[in-house]
């Protein structure tokens, strides 16, 4: 007999609805279980993508070219000379939609008339930062840095508030030049920015690259060339590594090194690598709870129909036929549950949580991990397939127990069972 003959399917389908309340209860358990799998994985993936995006936006980029020594000792000594020229050469290797931003980033001190505070001074080309880092986005208040503005400075809103400063106020920036001498210059605050993480707002100040180079008497120098890929999935493995290899071939002999963001942010990269495993473990844990309910429900249904199984066996149905019928029933339960759960999950992620889930109440705790305050769940086909796959495979495996049980009933035993 073919596995899915219509009558077997009809019998299984109708048997499923002989006790609608019981079927509804177990379907609810399956649906809730699968929704929890899919929505939580979407939430986790959204959080993860947010973390990656925040980190990459936070002056990291997908690829960064640096003097390898700079990562050990972030001083002007470990700079890139003729940075613009090198950036232009590297740009030739990359597709047109890739953006490069050259920066000079050094530790320094910001002085006001009342206070001094340690900051990270970043010399930037404002036009090159658009779409590459958070500083390229619209400011919280004030006006953006103009390319020729030698005295303009952008400050984080957090630092502005902490120091009691205002837009238009004058501050002094101090840093060390290549000879170890302190160099200072007065700047005027043109605007303030908001960043995803408050710590960033309190730490980074931005001035024009050329202005910073002049201040340190290091014309043409930078400490990093940041490369931003436009590919939305660039956080995944593969693409970035290919570019890194190509760039490093070109940089050979210059004493510079290109590094992908996975090497620059190893903790986040490790979290991403483990995410799928976490999800699989979560899916299995949810299923174990669900599986007991499923096995119990089907077992109850089987015991209720002992007499019918006996009759079918007496009529000449082999025990494999009984197993098949019970398994079709289990499959129906799983398929209906999966279809409903997938629809509900889609609705929850795409409609209910469309504007994101606000984790603001967790405050600094989430920021410490680089997680956005608002998480936008991301539905991933692989998560949906994995959740459904776990449920259908383990569900059929669990369903085998009552099915084998039913197949063991002999006609005589069941006929006596009135």
């Amino acid at each position: 007999m073919r596995f899915f003959d219509l009558l077997s399917v009809q019998i299984s389908w109708r048997n499923l609805w002989r006790n609608p309340r019981r079927t509804t209860i177990i379907l609810t358990a399956i649906v809730v279980g699968i929704i929890s799998m899919i929505v939580l994985s979407a939430f986790g993936r959204g959080m993860m993508e947010g973390m990656v995006k925040n980190s990459i936006d936070n002056l990291v980029g997908h690829i960064k070219i640096q003097n390898p020594q700079y990562r050990i000792d972030p001083a002007i000594d470990n700079r890139i000379d003729q940075a613009e020229k090198i950036a232009a050469q590297i740009g030739e290797l990359l597709p047109d939609d890739v953006q490069l931003a050259t920066r000079l980033r050094l530790d320094g001190v910001l002085s006001t008339s009342r206070e001094h505070t340690g900051v990270m001074i970043v010399g930037i080309d404002p036009a090159a930062e658009k779409g590459v880092s958070f500083i390229g986005r619209p400011l919280y208040q004030g006006t953006p840095l103009q390319p020729e503005d030698a005295r303009g400075l952008l400050i984080g809103q957090g630092l502005l508030e902490r120091l009691g400063l205002e837009i238009g106020k004058k501050v002094v920036v101090l840093s060390q030049d290549a000879s170890g001498e302190g160099r200072s210059k007065a700047f005027r605050i043109r605007g303030s920015y908001r960043a995803e993480m408050r710590d960033t707002e309190k730490r980074y100040i931005f001035i024009n690259l050329k202005s910073f180079q002049d201040m340190l008497a290091a014309p043409g120098s930078a400490t990093e060339i940041s490369i931003s890929l436009r590919n939305a999935n660039a956080y995944q493995t593969g693409t970035v590594e290919d570019y890194v290899d190509r760039i490093n071939e070109r940089l050979d002999g210059l004493g510079l090194e290109a590094t992908g963001w996975r090497q620059l942010l190893p903790a986040i990269a490790a979290y991403i690598d483990m995410f799928d495993v976490y999800m699989l473990i979560w899916f299995v844990v949810v299923f174990v709870a669900m599986g007991f309910g499923l096995a119990n429900t089907v077992l109850m249904a089987v015991y209720e129909r002992m007499r019918e199984f006996g009759l079918q066996r007496a009529l000449g149905l082999r025990s494999s036929g009984i197993i098949k019928n019970v398994m079709i029933e289990v499959l129906f339960l799983l398929l209906i549950g999966m279809a409903l759960a997938d629809l509900c999950s889609f609705f929850l992620v795409k409609v209910v949580f469309r504007s994101g889930i606000d984790l603001g109440s967790f405050g600094a705790g989430i920021e410490m991990w680089g997680i956005s305050r608002i998480v936008y769940p991301v539905l991933s086909l692989s998560d949906i397939v994995m959740a459904n796959g776990v449920v259908v495979l383990l569900g059929l495996l669990v369903g085998l127990y009552p099915a084998l049980h039913a197949a063991r009933f002999t006609p005589i035993e069941t006929m006596r069972h009135l």
Binding site: D5, I11, G316, L317, I412
Partner: protein, 227 residues
């Protein structure tokens, strides 16, 4: 011509520490086309004998031959195939699959036999007409009377053209008029199709209809009378 031979068969049931000998060295033959009643009080062994003949159970001693084939030598699947292709069953109650209509209950057994759809439809329609239930084809068992349910069960038992129909107390839950009509129908089938009918019964009406009456008591044959 002999279709079934029961050779010195014994069957003992165990319930806890108590053993009950349901059949004690019973031997008898059934010929093709016979209309036989196995009669006797409760516990006499008539249902046990029917189950052994129908390969629903295996004897503890002795052998049952169906068309020269020793049933003890068949495995579970072979016994299922024998029941499917050569034996029809009518039980006292709970005879039909409750989620299937009358027509589907009959169709089910043909489907198990892998009969093609066109032939199945024709056979189901013909047999429903034969048992007078064409208008009830789409009704489920709970929408049929006891007599109608038993007629569907007989239709299902006979639709596969089996060599033997085994009926265990088929009239037990029916009133006498309905029971008589059912027996007349089965007798008609026995005569026209030459199907062997073996009944386990303690209903005198069934005994009256039978051409041969085998009486059992305490697991032994006490009389075997042809009319």
């Amino acid at each position: 011509m002999e279709i079934i031979r029961v050779d010195s068969v014994s069957k003992v049931y165990h319930q806890g520490r108590v053993s009950f000998r349901a059949l004690d060295k019973v031997s008898l033959d059934f010929k093709k086309g016979e209309f036989v009643a196995l009669a006797g009080p409760s516990g006499s062994g008539k249902t046990t004998l029917l189950n052994l003949i129908g390969s629903l159970d295996v004897p503890d001693e002795g052998e049952v031959f169906f068309d020269q084939k020793n049933l003890s030598e068949l495995n579970d699947s072979e016994r299922a195939d024998l029941r499917l292709h050569r034996i029809g069953f009518v039980f006292q109650a709970y005879n039909l699959i409750p989620v299937l209509t009358a027509a589907e209950n009959i169709d089910y057994i043909l489907l198990l036999q892998k009969v093609d759809k066109f032939l199945r439809t024709r056979k189901v329609n013909d047999i429903l007409q034969e048992v007078g239930l064409t208008d009830k084809a789409s009704n489920r068992p709970d929408e049929l009377s006891g007599g109608q349910q038993q007629r569907v069960a007989v239709a299902r038992a006979i639709v596969t053209d089996p060599q033997v129909v085994l009926a265990d107390e088929p009239t037990a839950n029916l009133d006498s008029t309905t029971g008589r009509k059912l027996l007349e129908m089965m007798q008609q089938m026995n005569r026209t199709k030459k199907v062997t009918f073996i009944f386990a019964t303690h209903d005198p009406m069934v005994m009256d209809f039978a051409d041969r009456l085998v009486s059992l008591k305490d697991g032994r044959i006490v009389s075997d009378t042809a009319k």
